[in-house]
């Protein structure tokens, strides 16, 4: 048998890329953000991440083993990434049982019911996060204040996120210049010293990861850049119109989950469009929706909702927005 020549269709060589490598590439890109959140939130961050990752992998294992009864898929690393991203979307003082429920929704409901990796229409981590946000609003919006390594877990001192401060303040009729004194400076926000979910606080760490992802060609620039550009442009216009009512673009980009969402959540392979043109439209959509929810919506933060809404449009984008085929432009000339 082994002496016989093998025959297959070309190509006969294959690139070194594998699904697993891509997934672990994403994990590596998330490490700086994880370290920052451990630095600011202490044990809580570790506990939340560990619980989330462990339960995501466990649920996938159990479902594949006992319900689908197919070869195990946890090796591909996608459950690990889902777990990490889910943890990054949570406050670091959230009780363990809520994380487990969220993981279940992420993996079992949002991913495996559709057939596992590659078939889910919505980003699993975000579905889990939004489910938790709606089911456990109190626990999900009590953000521990960054206090260094030695804070406790569920008994950490909590405070509001910059976005929530601005939202509340504006509702109560305060002007932005007053509010700006209550929120961290841009430099503080850049390095992560603000209230918020574990992964979103440190813009610097997220950008480090972004550079890594681009360098390794795991993602392309289209989605993150189009989201950020839309947000900067949209909030910039609003800010120029009335700087007392609308916050400046820099604040919008640094505060909240824009960077986390744009770099890690919106670029999720499975739930993002498949060609550059559609990716740009998708990114613009996310940017617009985020700003709309933030400025006029009921929630202070809208990235998760914006991404989920745009996820729903992805099949439509894939069907109607086609890449420009080779030799197409000649048609008119």
């Amino acid at each position: 048998m082994s002496n016989l020549l093998k025959v297959s269709l070309s190509p006969h060589i294959h690139g070194k890329e594998t699904t697993q490598k891509l997934m672990f590439g994403v994990v590596i890109a998330l490490i700086p953000a994880l370290l920052t959140s451990i630095f600011f939130f202490g044990y809580g961050a570790l506990i939340v991440t560990a619980t989330s990752v462990a339960s995501c992998i466990l649920f996938e294992y159990l479902i594949v083993k006992f319900i689908i009864k197919k070869p195990l898929t946890i090796n591909d690393g996608s459950a690990l990434v889902t777990g990490l991203l889910l943890a990054f979307n949570l406050p670091s003082n959230i009780p363990v049982f809520i994380i487990v429920i969220g993981s279940f929704v992420s993996v079992a409901v949002a991913k495996m019911t559709f057939g596992g990796l590659g078939n889910n229409p919505f980003n699993p981590a975000l579905v889990g996060r939004v489910f938790m946000l709606i089911s456990f609003p109190v626990q999900m919006t009590s953000w521990p204040v960054p206090a260094g390594l030695n804070t406790g877990y569920t008994d950490a001192v909590t405070g509001a996120t910059p976005l929530a401060i601005v939202k509340e303040g504006l509702k109560n009729g305060e002007s932005l210049s007053q509010l700006m004194t209550q929120i961290p400076t841009p430099a503080q926000m850049f390095f992560g010293q603000m209230g918020g979910s574990m992964g979103e606080i440190a813009a610097m760490a997220l950008l480090l990861g972004f550079i890594w992802l681009l360098y390794k060609k795991i993602i392309t620039w289209h989605i993150p850049v189009s989201i950020l550009a839309t947000i900067v442009a949209f909030t910039g216009i609003l800010w120029l119109v009335n700087p007392e009512k609308y916050a400046d673009p820099l604040f919008h980009v640094l505060a909240g989950g824009i960077l986390l969402g744009a770099i890690y959540m919106a670029t999720d392979y499975v739930t993002s469009p498949m060609n550059p043109k559609a990716m740009l439209i998708y990114g613009c959509g996310i940017g617009m929706l985020t700003v709309i929810i933030r400025v006029w919506g009921a929630y202070p933060e809208g990235v998760s909702f914006a991404i989920l809404i745009m996820n729903a449009f992805v099949p439509l984008l894939n069907t109607y927005i086609k890449p420009k085929r080779f030799g197409e432009e000649v048609k008119n000339g």
């Binding site: 048998m1 020549l5 093998k6 025959v7 297959s8 269709l9």
Partner: protein
């Protein structure tokens, strides 16, 4: 409280009534006339939607039956004679008698008989393998063994045998819809007339090469030696393109050809064992050198 409930019930009922009236008028306006007999006939059909009749589904076939003057050329292979008779009765027409058919594989190249000469590494799909090259053996006509027919069969009548790497057709389940015939890129599945006790005699080979190359590729290939043609008293066997073919309509199951065949490419199935063991199988045979 009671007040609210009453208002709710009344308003919802009114809404329902309104919707019902709108729906009724829409249904009236867009009504399409359909011969009620189509439904009737469709109910008689097996509802397998296999396409064996040549129509897209059972409903299309029912429409064709209702429209047709006579049933000539219209046959439901799945339901067979009883269903056609019932349909004919319902429509007041006559159903011609059509012989039931069964699919047979015109290849018997098991790994022992047909040595493997390469390993195919790719998608297990006969069409792709066929487009790519000759296949894992030196026979360019035989079964590729990737199971396209198994996928095509909606009745679960075909499975791949692990020992022979060939598909096996379960006669009782096969309804001769012809999907496997269409699916096979090498056209080596034939629908043959069903005989008593599922008896079959056929040339289980599709190799059109001359004797030498055919035999080198596969020990049980038909080498077109014409021995079977000579022995057949009923003119049921013809040779075309270096390949013998037994006409199922003329064959009387005398089994002489199978005994005569030097390579054993004529298969007899579901017959009682013969008493005198045929020696012909072990005879050494001369094959034409390659031309």
């Amino acid at each position: 409280m009671g007040h609210t409930i009453i208002i709710t019930v009344i308003s919802l009922s009114l809404l329902a009534l309104l919707a019902a009236v709108i729906l009724y008028f829409i249904a009236q306006k867009f009504k399409v006339y359909e011969d009620p007999r189509i439904d009737e006939v469709q109910a008689l059909l097996p509802a397998a939607n296999c396409g064996g009749c040549g129509f897209a589904g059972c409903r299309n076939f029912a429409e064709a039956l209702v429209k047709a003057e006579t049933f000539d050329g219209l046959n439901c292979p799945v339901g067979g004679a009883p269903v056609m008779a019932e349909a004919a009765q319902a429509l007041g027409k006559e159903a011609p008698v059509v012989d039931p058919l069964v699919a047979v594989l015109l290849c018997n190249g098991t790994p022992e008989q047909r040595p493997r000469t390469s390993v195919y590494d790719g998608v297990p799909d006969c069409r792709i393998a066929h487009n790519l090259y000759i296949g894992e053996t030196d026979c360019s006509y035989g079964c590729l063994g990737k199971g396209d027919c198994v996928t095509a069969c909606t009745f679960g009548a075909i499975y791949m045998s692990k020992e022979t790497s060939l598909p096996v057709i379960i006669d009782d389940k096969c309804v001769a819809c012809g999907n496997c015939v269409k699916a096979c890129p090498r056209n080596i599945i034939e629908l043959r007339k069903k005989a008593k006790k599922d008896r079959k005699i056929y040339v289980a080979c599709s190799n059109c090469d001359k004797g030498g190359p055919a035999r080198r590729a596969c020990k049980v290939a038909c080498i077109a030696c014409t021995k079977c043609v000579k022995v057949c008293k009923f003119d049921a066997i013809t040779i075309e393109n270096n390949l013998a073919y037994i006409d199922a309509l003329k064959c009387t199951f005398c089994r002489k050809c199978a005994t005569e065949c030097p390579t054993g490419s004529i298969l007899e199935i579901n017959f009682p064992p013969k008493k005198p063991a045929p020696e012909a199988q072990n005879e050494t045979i001369k094959v034409n050198p390659e031309v």
